[in-house]
């Protein structure tokens, strides 16, 4: 071994300024993306399971809801109505949390915690990657949907808004899963917890609009925040830009994101 050389850029090393939240999150996010690319098999289910449900659900119910005399379809096929549910399903796998458990068990999380970076960056890094992953998967899914004749009523701009909404939802969902990972530090508990969150995706108007649900389901769906994210996505696909629906959808995501980040930072700060 050779001794540590203290070269001319010693100053830029020892007294380099702090990066700040955004930069730290991006650096950690870049690593999480690399990790996802190196485990591509973990990405496949997030695409194929939702597509499977889309095909199966549409195959089973499309004849009940022909586009010609089903007003809520606004002239499109039933597949267009189902697409948001599939997109949200693909955004709700929370792979980030399982990687985090691995990182905690392997001790690398401690190494990151010992670095002078914002605690929120520790949480946001993986979520940033989750955003990108979901955006890519959703783009592929929407691309396939287009090939099968589904149209995005709000056009290209609406498609971008749709991607942002679904991907931001993925951050929120994965963030809550990360919270459980931080608390339990166990893969089994984290996976189990996803079973608790999962029903929220189905207590939604995912087969018919909310006003056509049975009364108990309608109440459940109205209370369930996921409903508003789904309705916002749906409005973009079937209708166009619906300010009220989008407002509610983004409000749900924003509030849930704020809550998730607050709880996560508190958890990381008190982490022993």
């Amino acid at each position: 071994m050779t001794a540590i050389a203290r070269s001319d850029d010693t100053v830029s090393r020892r007294d380099a300024p702090a990066n700040g939240l955004v930069k730290d999150s991006m650096i950690l996010g870049g690593r999480a993306v690399r990790e996802a690319l190196r485990t591509p098999d973990s990405l496949l289910p997030t695409m194929f399971i939702p597509l499977f449900f889309l095909v199966v659900n549409v195959g089973q119910a499309a004849r009940i809801f022909p586009s010609s005399d089903t007003p809520f379809l606004e002239g499109q096929s039933y597949g267009a109505f189902q697409l948001p549910a599939s997109l949200l399903l693909s955004a709700s796998f929370g792979a980030a949390a399982l990687y985090l458990v691995e990182e905690i068990e392997g001790g690398y999380f401690d190494k990151l915690r010992a670095a002078p970076i914002s605690r929120m960056a520790l949480v946001l890094g993986r979520l940033y990657a989750e955003f990108l992953k979901t955006a890519v998967v959703a783009t592929v899914m929407v691309g396939l949907a287009l090939a099968f004749g589904i149209r995005i009523a709000s056009g290209v701009a609406g498609f971008v808004v749709l991607l942002v909404l679904v991907s931001a939802w993925a951050m929120v969902f994965s963030g809550f899963m990360q919270l459980i990972a931080l608390k339990s530090r166990s893969a089994a508990a984290t996976q189990g917890a996803s079973m608790v969150f999962f029903p929220l995706l189905f207590l939604t108007p995912n087969f018919v609009p909310r006003d056509q649900l049975t009364r108990p389901m309608e109440i459940a769906a109205t209370i369930n925040p996921v409903t508003y994210v789904m309705e916002a996505c749906r409005s973009l696909i079937l209708h166009g830009f619906d300010g009220a629906a989008l407002g509610k959808g983004f409000a749900v995501v924003a509030v849930a994101m704020a809550l998730m980040l607050t709880l996560s930072v508190r958890m990381v700060n008190g982490y022993d």
Partner: protein
């Protein structure tokens, strides 16, 4: 100013039946430029102390300053002064050695070019240049330890914490790590290291403390501790650090041998 000051440091895990008082009032004063050894049997509270001093764990009671900065009041400031390699090397198996070091350097604020250069320099330092672009998953235990040590050095910390840096290394690698610790120290870095190997402490450390059951029971230079034991027991033979350790922890030689085996 001291490199490390701790007063009345305590850590209690859990509560009720599961309550463990791992550290019960530790005082430390490590001078700048020292290599300070922290010795103790399994479960004595060494790692817990290191984790508290490096901001990785909340402190139940007491106060700790590293590089003059209170680790509880300003953890962020303290982290910039601290380098740490924990007992279990914490590495991301899906990244390459080079990626880990570059990332670490970036997190300490270096720009991409400086970070890359620093990573290359450290890889050479710990003799991992050949394996630099392989995923860590395929590294041997010794390679992982060396990479972990390198990652603690990216920002040239003022105070370096090493929790059992040579456990599990072959004798040659152990001596290389000793040499490296000395060199790092000569360049001005204070080193706080825990160890199970008394010879290691004897060779490397200017001063050391022996902790048992969460309390410091001996403290001094290796020679002062040996002298104290010889004077107290009035023996003719020069005691070794082993003898000091056994005397301090009230253990028999046989018991200690059994425990050392159990560690590795």
């Amino acid at each position: 100013m001291s490199a490390i000051t701790a007063t009345g440091l305590q850590k209690t895990y859990g509560d009720g039946d599961k309550r463990v008082e791992a550290v019960r009032g530790v005082d430390l004063d490590v001078e700048r430029g020292e290599i300070f050894g922290f010795l103790g049997p399994n479960g004595a509270g060494k790692s817990t102390t290191v984790r508290m001093l490096t901001t990785l764990m909340t402190i139940t009671a007491g106060r700790a300053l590293v590089g003059g900065i209170d680790v509880t009041a300003d953890p962020h400031g303290a982290r910039r002064k601290i380098g740490v390699a924990l007992q279990e090397a914490g590495l991301d198996l899906r990244q390459t050695g080079r990626e880990i070091l570059t990332l670490q350097a970036r997190l300490f604020g270096m720009n991409p070019a400086t970070a890359k250069g620093r990573a290359a320099e450290l890889l050479e330092l710990v003799e991992l240049d050949d394996a630099a672009d392989r995923r860590v998953k395929g590294y041997s235990g010794g390679m992982k330890r060396r990479l972990d040590l390198a990652s603690a050095l990216v920002h040239e910390p003022d105070v370096l914490f090493l929790d059992e840096p040579t456990t599990g290394l072959d004798p040659a690698s152990r001596i290389t790590v000793w040499d490296e610790v000395r060199r790092i120290n000569q360049l001005g870095t204070t080193v706080f290291l825990t160890t199970q190997y008394l010879e290691e402490a004897d060779q490397l450390c200017n001063r050391l403390a022996i902790i048992d059951d969460g309390r410091i029971i001996r403290e001094g230079t290796p020679s002062s501790l040996k002298r104290e034991l010889r004077d107290r027991t009035g023996s003719d033979a020069d005691p070794t650090l082993d003898d000091v350790f056994l005397d301090a922890t009230g253990r028999t030689r046989e018991k200690l041998a059994g425990e050392v085996k159990e560690v590795r």
